[in-house]
Subunit: 387 residues, 4 copies
């Protein structure tokens, strides 16, 4: 095969299929034959032209059209250079043809202040991102997962997938690593009941895929009550299947009723933890109201600039004694651990069923449309399927 | 009923059944009609006369013979004073006749330096303990759970059991709260990979009941590999059923082989966490050898003085960069949370099956003998059963 | 002496001197002969009628006029009941006539969910507060420090002052305990550079007394650059004297210039920690803009409801990956430790000079007026001085 | 100058002066003109032939004789390659001729599991160390600080020194970063009174240079009582000068008396924190005995294998509920922060006076002898001085 087929986003709302030449590899590069690539909320925002991410600090134009989308990727090593064999894998495992791998889409420089001092999070001053900030305009082109092949090199964090783990579970690793938010809240737990402790009441605001993964992770970490909030009955049903104990329909309740419902679950106090997985500014004060004094709020949903919301420093922050964790990106140190958890817990939690739809590359546009329907779960591009 | 039947330990190895008068209650007291009371490792030590606990700081003679053993207790409120109705329950829930309750066996003064400054752990300078340091010699006698009734007052931490939770699961709450060791290790987790993170490799040294509960909790908190170490094939089989992924038989392997087996599981590094649930001094250096650099050791098994073991400050502590958590007792703030977890996860984990044997009060001696057999799991006294 | 003179706030702006009968003590009570009582920002808010504190959860009307203000108190035991001698002192030290003591103004019930589970912080559901929520209308009246005597009982947390510590330093203990915010941020420090580490750049927004105490504590905990922001040149000068390395005048700079000034100090990144000690909503987004990615914001200044401010969940919270600590009240477990620090570090830091003015009880109104002038530091009522 | 003079340790006890050719630089290298290089405890151990470090995991023979000792280094850039100008400095600051720099002696591979997952600590599987594991046998020879010049490249962590900081303070940065042990203990502090809080009582076992630096850091972080334990009256006097509040002479007291002295300081409880800076196994159980329940023990002194000591898992670990932090090496992320602290606090603490003696390169042997006398503080090699 001398050409590589890929879906290309040339601008907001404009998706087309292109063919690229298969690149000749340098010694530190590898070519991955793609299996599955998930559609993330960011992809939807980019498609809709809601593109200001990272508060505008990372890219002047976001995304860097034209791009090959796709940053939740799993595939198999198809060709690999001599240096990459020894040094590509994140923790030093040797890699060879046929090995299944996943990757962290964020690529960092390794030498700026953030890279030097803040290991784990890709808050690099020169951060680049597969499927978003790396254009496919110039060779070697293949910096996104909605394609037959994807190119990586030793600057990219690539992780070997345990042999027992299916691509259908491995493709979930990236968004599952995003739920390190809850692990972070767990680190913050002390006997002063900060952060997230086993048995705690956790509210998930918005149970699209990001919210569903948080429901699953909350359950994997020993949560007590899990309250799912959404307007989609299909998504609330999925949340219940994955472990949510209470559902709150946004379209048939008022904010006051939802806040009261959470208090009723907790002897009048409020939730221990609430997580914004909705990305709509108005959910933030609602989530803060739902918390008990000293509760923890996780803001990981506002990945794109959607405007401001009025917050009272007294009511919502100081007198609430809130602990708030903002979290953009996800830790590149979390992949190995999450792969192991998917191997151990994936089937017990029925996690593969979070994928409701798979489309071939040629139908990427239909896939994106489907992912924006409230009855969908995770939608993936399956590069193994012809159109 | 005007008398209360109880098993009484009058000295090492001497267990008999006595009748005590049913006490007249003060307003701040309640009488619990016992259902189940578990046998703990401490009970076995007391029975064998290995009684130096708390490094001798708590009691001059340990235990305070004669005692009614039993500190893992669940029962139902049989009679309750007016003050106790409002103030007995730990978090302020009103209590009435028929309510099922569990209790923290450790009773604290509330006003010493430890009580004032170190909330959560019963490290009180005047700590007393049901079933161990409170004699049954003088009225009102009933300070242990191997009896038809047990007396509590507002100085005791008593917790209402969720109505959906069976006594067979509720009786497990006390030893499950002991596994807060792992929750503590989880608090210590940072991006420097200290403490216990999801996906980590955890070694449990000794899988008697305490070790089995740690296997379950490690699984509930998202552990990766769980390595069970014991000499009893029955207990290793139970550990596997509850989630251990590797078994190491102590009687058919050398220490070197066991350490190597753990390294082989972890690309040569060693375990992230090891927990002493054996209570035998020699396991400590072995567990430390099993850890990777920066690993975490939990010492919660050496509840009774069993002598010293040689430790190299260089090899085992400094150059290992170990984090070591010693943990006596368990947090009285952990009961509500654990009751909720037993309600949510108890059936999914098949936890009730950890109880392998139940005996009536009259057969307490047989129960103790059975609990010391390596094929037993948790053995309980069932006060509902006649002899 | 059979009467006790006190300053009484009968309503917003109305302060008068009254005489109360000296109470007859119960066994669990003590009468404190007042030495000094500080004026806090809350006192100023109450005087101005800006009284909605604790988001309205604690008191229906706030404060509970008429009140004797004064909750930063130091005095000497003048009379003490038999029970109080043994049980009044926080950590169990015996107390006698002539002993100097300070107290935590927040009084908690000890049995609600917060008291049981959240030790350290007075987030009690039935919290009462000396000098604010306890009226002096009914006997025994003396629940505030702007008086010749103050009444305490064993429900109050009272701490013995080291004999070497002067009243002028001891009166600073309460607001210094409020700076436990920085200690909390220090607890949160990890190798992912969260929270507050030695050498970090710290911004203090507002250097009235609360801000000055934060400057001092930041220095005591090893801060690097300390940036003081205020409009008062006198207060900025005091901040510099106590260790601030950079001053930013609010009246002669724009928000953009101040944000840029902080970035210039930090190679363009932004501060590691910012603390709201101003209590004005608009400082919150400014402080968030001043932080680097992963920086920590402490909201301890918005003690009274002063309205809302627009916050962007994307820009200020998520993409900033902020850690935000809201903190109302202060830990009652922090007094002993802070008394010891005042003893060791008070003179080295010249802390007594933070008190710029002292007034007798009769001049409480003048004292309040003075405390609201931007050239004042901490203003105290000195009960030892006649008018 | 075409040759470089250096002190060379050719084997235990054998130190001589050699001349090496000045190397021709590669683009990623720089040559540092040495100013000062401190003598560390490890140097003394190496000189005495007590060389088993890192539990034997790092080097087959330790050290890799012949070596140029010296890993606490400060100097000035004398020559620098084009790549090194842009990429040598740890946080990305450009470097040029004449810039003063310090360095982390531990050199890591950047790609092994520890380097990838455990950022901050040099626990690399292929760790090399200036002045110890890098032989000077082969070109380019210059891997130690007791020389006129030292060679570094972009694999080494090099930090630009603030212009206001003297070499006499900058040379202290490496051992001061070792006291990150106390910062780690501070991170561990929670409201359950674990770790190290402001105002806490801290015992330093052994106040040679490592212990003196811990005294200073404890003071910089707000410790309360600081108890210095040593046999040298000169060193105890220095400890007092740097902030220790109590001195315990090992030669004129028994272990029981010292333990009791610590209890007497703390109302009978014991210290909150104890730190082994002595490196003698027997101090470990003594230090553990000195702790209160839940106290924290830091093992950072046993850098070289000196044998085992009997520890009771019950008495010293479990019933003590100890938190123990083993710490080998020091965090390479701590240098920038500590340089800033030396700039701000160095003079106030009179830190330069910890250097009691300086010797030219030719007198390295005399310097080592002097450093082993109990009346010495930090001894340095001053490359600027002729013999």
């Amino acid at each position: 095969m001398s050409t590589v087929k890929a879906a290309v986003l040339t601008g907001p709302g404009r998706l087309e299929v292109r063919e690229f030449p298969r690149p000749r590899l340098e010694p530190h590069q590898a070519l991955i034959r793609m299996e599955l690539s998930g559609i993330c909320g960011t992809d939807k925002h980019c498609f809709k032209g809601e593109g200001l991410v990272y508060a505008g600090t990372m890219m002047e134009t976001t995304p860097a059209f034209p791009i090959i989308p796709g940053h939740e990727n799993v595939g198999v090593v198809d060709e690999i250079g001599a240096v990459a064999r020894e040094r590509l894998e994140f923790s030093g495992r040797p890699l060879g043809i046929g090995d299944r791998v996943v990757m962290c889409p964020d690529v960092v420089c390794g030498t700026c202040w953030y890279c030097r001092n803040l290991h784990g999070m890709p808050w690099c001053e020169k951060q680049r991102c597969y499927g978003m900030s790396l254009t496919c305009d110039a060779p070697p082109h293949l910096f996104g997962g909605w394609a037959e092949h994807m190119l990586v090199d030793t600057d990219v964090f690539v992780y070997k997938v345990p042999t027992a783990l299916s691509p259908e579970l491995a493709v979930l690793v990236e968004p599952m690593v995003v739920t390190a938010t809850l692990e972070k809240a767990k680190e913050m737990h002390t006997s002063a009941r900060e952060g997230f402790a086993s048995g705690d009441t956790v509210v998930i605001q918005g149970v699209g895929p990001l919210g569903l993964f948080h429901v699953i992770r909350a359950r994997m970490l020993g949560a007590g009550h899990i309250v799912a909030v959404d307007f989609s009955p299909e998504r609330l049903a999925m949340a219940t299947r994955f472990g949510a104990t209470t559902s709150l329909r946004v379209d048939s309740t008022t904010e006051e009723e939802r806040v009261q419902a959470v208090r009723d679950l907790t002897d009048g106090r409020g939730a221990d933890v609430a997580v914004d997985c909705a990305g709509v500014p108005s959910v933030v004060p609602e989530g803060l109201e739902m918390l008990r004094k000293g509760g923890t709020y996780i803001e990981c949903g506002a990945f794109v600039e959607m405007g401001t919301v009025p917050i009272s420093p007294h009511r919502h922050l100081c007198s609430k004694s809130v602990r708030l964790i903002g979290m953009t990106n996800h830790p590149y140190t979390g992949y190995d651990s999450m792969l192991r958890q998917l191997e151990i817990y994936g089937d017990a939690f029925g996690m593969a069923s979070i994928i409701t739809d798979a489309y071939p590359i040629e139908q990427a546009s239909a896939a994106l449309q489907r992912s924006m329907e409230p009855s969908s779960g995770k939608v993936v591009i399956d590069a193994r399927r012809g159109s």
